[in-house]
């Protein structure tokens, strides 16, 4: 079961830095981001639009759009092996087989002029050349049935399916080679609420069936609560808080995380006013110095504008990158490091 001696983790990202360079400006999409996904675990990657979540997913896939996108540093360990130093050929083997991605918009992520069974077959054949044509098709049909689409609809084209059905096709495609890791990039954002629940349920079942690890990229805390084991909150290209589902939901620490929860309507106290986070995401081509959140933070102090905060641990894997905690509980880090 354990492949790399050093890791029981399917995915480990360390200090990843990604930039998009255009003629006019440099967009700092991912800034020294680190995260870990344990075997069979689901990590929720939460943040606003533009926080760099999708870029992180694409970096793992080796699909950062070139030439604008540049990975400047860090490491991405898949089963203990760094994918940033793989050749194109090796990456081809990894994509789809070790890690696959479910994209946000099922309407545009399927090829409109290719039947869905061919699109699934393509994924299967890319990683198993020994199968005959009919075996591949057979497998593709099995995948379709697994996501609840009758096999005789396989010869149809994407436009003949509804949005939810298309996303099922995409899921079938992503799972067709039984990858170790699935990166799901807002898989239900483009779908109706009722369909969302169906698709999420399906993904959860299949994940458990295959013991697949998953990164669930989303801005929807409800989805996180439903599907994830742990949560990383992302802001302006780096993680500001991380912990198990319970850590983060029961005891959110970072002002930004608290803000995210404050932006949700509450059922237990409907008279409570919504407390949206003031301001907007900073322009990623012109990030503030120090803590990137300080311009929107009610608790910002002088140090926040100058110095980047370090992680402060609160038992287990729960940590927060915030000066408030660096100072207030300065002993906490050493005490809890041993866990």
């Amino acid at each position: 079961m354990v492949i790399g001696s050093q890791s029981n983790n399917t995915l480990e990202i360390r200090d990843l830095v990604v930039e998009y360079r255009t003629r006019e400006r440099v967009v700092h999409a991912v800034n020294s981001l680190s995260l870990t996904v344990g075997r069979g675990q689901t990590l929720g990657l939460v943040g606003e639009t533009g926080a760099g979540k999708t870029t992180t997913g694409l970096a793992v896939m080796g699909l950062i759009p070139k030439p604008a996108g540049v990975v400047l540093g860090g490491a991405i360990l898949l089963n203990g092996e760094d994918v940033l130093h793989k050749s194109d050929r090796e990456m081809k083997q990894i994509r789809g087989k070790t890690v696959s991605m479910i994209f946000q918009d099922p309407m545009s992520s399927l090829n409109p002029v290719m039947s869905i069974e061919r699109q699934i077959s393509e994924a299967i054949r890319a990683h198993d050349r020994s199968l005959t044509r009919s075996q591949v098709l057979q497998k593709a049909h099995e995948m379709l049935e697994m996501v609840g689409i009758p096999r005789d609809r396989g010869s149809e084209y994407p436009h003949q399916f509804s949005g939810g059905m298309k996303q099922r096709v995409v899921i079938a495609m992503a799972l067709s080679c039984k990858p170790d890791l699935i990166i799901a990039d807002e898989p239900t954002t483009a779908l109706d609420v009722t369909i969302q629940a169906q698709v999420l349920g399906l993904m959860k079942d299949l994940k458990d069936q295959y013991r697949t690890s998953m990164v669930m990229i989303t801005h929807d805390l409800g989805i996180v609560a439903e599907t994830c084991d742990s949560v990383s909150v992302m802001y302006a290209g780096s993680i500001v808080e991380h912990g198990t589902l319970h850590d983060v939901f029961d005891d959110p620490l970072h002002p930004y995380t608290k803000g995210l929860f404050g932006s949700l309507p509450r059922l237990d106290d409907r008279r409570a006013k919504l407390q949206p986070i003031k301001g907007l995401m900073p322009d990623p081509s012109n990030l503030p110095t120090g803590c990137t959140f300080w311009p929107r933070c009610d608790h910002a102090k002088d140090v926040c504008r100058v110095e980047k905060p370090n992680p402060t641990y609160f038992g287990g894997e729960h940590f927060v990158n915030c000066h408030l905690f660096n100072e207030e509980i300065s002993g906490a880090r050493t005490v809890n490091m041993g866990d």
């Binding site: 699909l63 992520s109 002029v113």
Partner: protein
């Protein structure tokens, strides 16, 4: 699909009736008396009148048109005023030359232009791309008949490699005319292929394809290209249609024994039945090309196909 084809074929009929009617009426405006043309200046007015009655020229125009259409359906396009030969057999003898030339140049230009367009799109903003684009811009601006003259000047007169004109030297006769006709098409097709490839390469489904673990090349050729082909086919259709009309000029330069040259000769000789015959055949070919393009859409794009299923 077959029902759609039949529907499209039926829709061609009124258009063809319209074309023949229009051309027939325009030719009525032509000055001069065909009977006089046939009999010569020395014929007496009585002889001319007799021949006019024989030819049915004394009847109302609409009756003449109706008669022409009835005969056309039987495959009879009348006789030439000048040579007295059957228009249908003359046109039938010339048409294959025009068609062969059109097919050769179309095939060559498509086979060269599409790969060029794809490579230019993949290597956007490189020297290769820029060179292709400048050349193709010049290509769509260069009059085919001038290009024909320049090709003759260089390859026939200066270098002596290829025949100056005519169609009787096997494949060598085809080289210059098909380049002259095909170059502009090639340029136009390459430009469209490039711009639609630039669009499809960035589509999400190409990224999805790559995420499955297929190679970059298969993602581009297997996913981006089939989608880029849809707008390209439109332009190919327009260009092929242009081949028919453009044939008039290149055939004149190369003294090519096709329909284009025949129609120019007939216009100069005021040979109305021959002009009509050529126009009918060329317009029908033009409509058939458009029909084929429409049917190709159905094959290339399942969204179109299901609209007519």
């Amino acid at each position: 699909m077959i029902r759609y084809m039949i529907k499209r074929l039926l829709a061609m009929i009124p258009v063809l009736i319209g074309i023949t009617f229009l051309v027939f009426m325009i030719m009525q405006l032509a000055p001069g008396d065909p009977a006089r043309l046939i009999l010569g200046e020395n014929a007496s007015p009585e002889e001319v009148k007799e021949l006019r009655e024989q030819m049915g020229l004394e009847d109302p125009v609409l009756v003449q048109y109706f008669r022409y259409m009835v005969n056309l359906c039987k495959g009879d396009m009348g006789k030439s005023y000048i040579t007295n030969r059957l228009v249908a057999s003359e046109v039938a003898a010339r048409f294959p030359y025009t068609l062969k030339l059109a097919l050769v140049s179309a095939a060559v230009s498509i086979l060269i232009a599409i790969p060029l367009g794809i490579i230019a799109a993949v290597k956007q903003n490189t020297i290769f791309d820029n060179t292709c684009m400048v050349l193709s811009l010049v290509g769509i601006s260069m009059p085919a008949f001038w290009m024909a003259l320049m090709l003759v000047l260089v390859f026939s007169l200066r270098l002596g490699w290829l025949p100056v004109q005519g169609a009787n030297m096997g494949w060598r006769s085809y080289v210059l005319p098909s380049i002259a006709i095909g170059f502009m098409n090639m340029a136009a097709i390459a430009r469209t292929t490039r711009s639609s490839m630039l669009e499809t390469i960035r589509q999400d489904y190409v990224r999805t394809a790559k995420s499955k673990g297929i190679s970059n090349a298969s993602a581009i050729l297997g996913h981006a290209f089939p989608n880029a082909l849809i707008p390209t086919v439109t332009v190919v259709g327009v260009q092929l249609g242009g081949l028919i009309g453009g044939a008039v000029l290149t055939e004149t330069v190369f003294a090519w024994p096709g329909l284009g040259r025949l129609i120019v000769q007939s216009v100069n000789a005021r040979d109305v039945p021959m002009i009509l015959g050529c126009m009918v055949v060329m317009s029908v070919s033009f409509s058939v090309i458009n029909l084929v393009v429409d049917l190709l859409y159905g094959l290339l794009d399942p969204r179109v196909k299901s609209m007519y299923a």
